[in-house]
């Protein structure tokens, strides 16, 4: 059957659309490949485990930055995950559609849209100055924690919504209270989803630079952070300075190496969470 004019048009359009999609996917592939190929040369055991050497950067490594980023990840998790999950439980299980609830939901949506640099300013004015925590791991964790909160809440809500209503009805009909139903039926069946989703949010926070510039990240400290009031090094900030302000001829190469480590860390976490989610979803029989 010959192709009508309409069908021909469709074929062309669909081809263009296919290419746009392909292009988008290729961007990801390109970024990963570029960083990998150009940064790989710098990676070595020494690079990953030594302290940073300010005089001659080829002598040192980025271990403190890796540690700083990991500590930050833990700090952000502590700040945002419990609060976020509790909020999600309230919104999904208890809240009625009233003014209060709408305000909370509006706030969450707005928080998700606030620019990261503005969070940095907030952190500076509130955690660093007003509460006098100083530029520190604590201030940075709190600042990034605020930034991650909307993400944690959204991911947790999704997970909670996925629990079928029929389970909750069955539980209530057996004389369980609302909290008992949540505790025994809703949470066990959504916790893994909530945690994996939240950790994905935390991994994004670990890649952020702008907010931590002014609340605690530093390019070089000679000691390892031992208290939450210490300044710290972090991979994204380290990479930024190397790329834009460092005078060494090796700076750019090292920046790429740092970028590679950061990407491996974040994508590793993402990948891990996807696998866990997939495995748990398979085990579920509902």
């Amino acid at each position: 059957m010959a192709e009508t004019k309409e069908e021909k048009k469709q074929r062309i359009y669909f081809l263009i659309f296919k290419f746009s999609t392909l292009f988008s996917v290729l961007i990801l592939a390109f970024v990963l490949l570029y960083v990998f190929l150009n940064g790989f040369g710098v990676i070595s055991f020494k690079f990953l485990t030594s302290m940073w050497s300010h005089q001659n950067i080829t002598e040192g490594g980025i271990f403190p930055a890796i540690l700083g980023t990991l500590l930050l990840g833990i700090g952000v998790s502590i700040v945002s995950i419990p609060v976020g999950i509790a909020t999600a439980i309230y919104l999904n299980e208890y809240s009625k559609n009233n003014f209060f609830t709408r305000m909370i939901k509006l706030s969450i949506r707005n928080l998700a849209g606030v620019p990261s640099i503005v969070y940095g300013l907030f952190g500076l004015a509130f955690f660093v100055s007003f509460l006098k925590f100083g530029t520190s791991l604590l201030a940075a964790s709190l600042t990034l924690g605020c930034m991650t909160l909307p993400w944690v809440i959204t991911a947790s809500e999704e997970s909670l919504k996925a629990v079928p209503n029929s389970f909750k009805e069955a539980s209530l009909a057996l004389g369980a209270t609302k909290w008992q139903t949540i505790e025994k039926v809703v949470i066990p069946n959504s916790l893994s989803g909530m945690l994996t989703g939240s950790i994905l949010g935390v991994s994004r926070a670990m890649g952020e630079t702008a907010p931590i510039i002014m609340v605690g990240a530093t390019f070089f400290i000679s000691y390892m952070p031992t208290s939450i009031f210490d300044k710290f090094m972090a991979l994204p900030y380290h990479l930024f300075i190397l790329a834009t302000q460092h005078s060494s001829p090796f700076a750019r190469e090292y920046a790429l190496g740092t970028a590679l480590v950061l990407i491996v860390l974040i994508f590793g976490l993402n990948f891990g969470m996807f696998i866990i989610r997939y495995r748990i979803r398979k085990k579920k029989d509902w």
């Binding site: 009805e169 069955a170 009909a173 004389g175 369980a176 209270t177 008992q180």
Partner: protein, 277 residues
Amino acid sequence: MEIENRIKSEFLSEKRVDGENIENSMLETKIKINNLNFWYGKKQILFCINLDIYSNKITALIGPSGCGKSTLLRCLNRMNDIIPGIVLRGQIIYNEINLYGQENNVVDIRKKIGMVFQKPNPFPMSIFDNVAYGLRVQGIKDKKKIEEIVRESLDKADLLEEVKDRLNASAFSLSGGQQQRLCIARALAINPDVILLDEPCSALDPIATAKIERLLVKLKKERTIIIVTHNMHQAKRISDYTCYMLNGKLIERSSTQELFTNPKKESTRDYINGEFG
């Protein structure tokens, strides 16, 4: 003694007696619904329902889709409470207390008035844990006692034989009919006085349906059963009393035999004869 027993069995037997009056005098009212009006937001769903549910009998609620029978059923264990925006006027008296009185605890009511849903909804847990759920929720921790009640409930639900060797298997490994009997066992475990069933067989095949119908007839000896059903033949088969509803009103209520052989209202007659769905 023998004569006394014979007279007793005449009155309490399944045989139908002409007219309701003689039966009435031997009957106990388990639930009394007085002037029940129910709104969902601005829309009125139930209009001035007056109904007595008798103990140890199976009462069926029939009527076309949307007539309000499920809504009425859910009022009886206050499951409608979880929907925001509902308004209820009137009284539902159970054991001399008004279920909707201020002092009453919804949770306690549901322990005495249990419910089985249209689509079987076992928890994603083992068969054992499903049945034990209601007990654990009440704080019962004694493992032996729990095991005893679980087995007893599964037995009462005619399921024990089929699952006794795999109580730890997932509830979802059971067939649809078995899952529904599991839900019945789960409801029985907390020993409710009344069991509400909302079209319990509509998702099941005829064989599974027959098994559950037999089960219900067996259960009514110790409990009161109210069943919503789309299937008139089912109502005819197992219920003692049938209520016909239309557009939120209770049109007619009589003993099942009366309703189906000699309906008093024209609307009832039309429904039974299949004039409309």
